[in-house]
Amino acid sequence: MTSLLNRLFGRTKRGSGATAKNRLHFVLQHDRINLPPERAEEMKKEILAVIVKYLAVDQERVEIALEQRDRMHSKLVAELPIVNETYKSENLKPEPVATVATDAGSNGAGKVNEGEPEDASAEDAEEDDKEPVADKSDEDSSKDDDKR
């Protein structure tokens, strides 16, 4: 009740008390799993170093963070957006026609066709890809419709 009223009247705390609370959240997140912040940073770097050996990750948008429900329940949550270069022309060598550019927006949930694919699989990829791309644009336009 009190907090609801406080919110209604815009009485959210902004002083050093709020700062204290935020700092405590940060400190306890690390205390509770016995992993100090500097070790956590090290770990993040190592995780990333392993992943980039296999995937092109958009390093700007990488997020590896601790989440904590309470003292006994913590988890490490990582979001590592993949720059999907599967369909880039240079990766589909013998078929320069297959430039279905899907650089931005493809969130890489699909296959990881790294290296030089054989001709056949490159064609497969091309075929597989066409439909979803069409679907996607349909979706997008319908979303736009909603907005209007």
Partner: protein
Amino acid sequence: MAGKVVTISSGKGGVGKTTATANLGISLASLGKKVVVIDADIGLRNLDVIMGLENRIVYDLVDIVEGRSKLRQSMIKHKKFEDLFLIPAAQTRDKMAVSPEDMVKLTDELREDYDYVLIDSPAGIERGFRNALEPADEVLIVTNPEVSAVRDADRITGLIEAADKGPGRLIINRLKPDLVKKGEMLSSDDVYDILGLKIIGIIPEDELVLSASNSGIPVTLNMDSKAGMAFNNVARRLTGEDVPFMNLDDNPGLFQRLVRFLDGR
């Protein structure tokens, strides 16, 4: 009769464990309970002076544990309350002189004749804390609304739970309502959000606590003291009574009064 062993802990030093132990002892005794308070802070004896009993000490905790004195003859009776006793810490010995098993044995004996055995735990997470924790039926965690004290309270809470002694209940001591109102101090709600522990008491900062410790008469005996009243409420909650939290705000504005009215306070 099966008395209850209640340990008063904190992690950080200087947050008010000894003050709380002395006041809870007095309050429980004034409620008609039979009480023993034990100073488990070996080497840093303090509870005796806070309770005004420093000149009556003959034997101490280590004497009892090492068999140099009988338990009953070592307990110091309070001047005002027939059924309130102190077992002082040894001042010249090391905390290793007492083991957790010693404390269990001692409190098991006391449990038979007393309603409450309160143990004033030393700061830290080492042997002295283990000694105080091992015999506990219930643990109270004292903290201040301040970053380092809350952090240490969290640490100690984890240890208490790992030892199957949890969940502890929280005493937030030295709260300054005017600062909380200005947003310049963690509120009791903030501390609750962070620690996730039930709050058994909110004790305001009160100058009378200092005069009380100067004179060796715990503040809960002073009817004018808000801190004293708040400690008294903690004692009543400890006995299972449902006591509403005190209003700590001296001059509530219109908004606060509206909130309180709607909150039924």
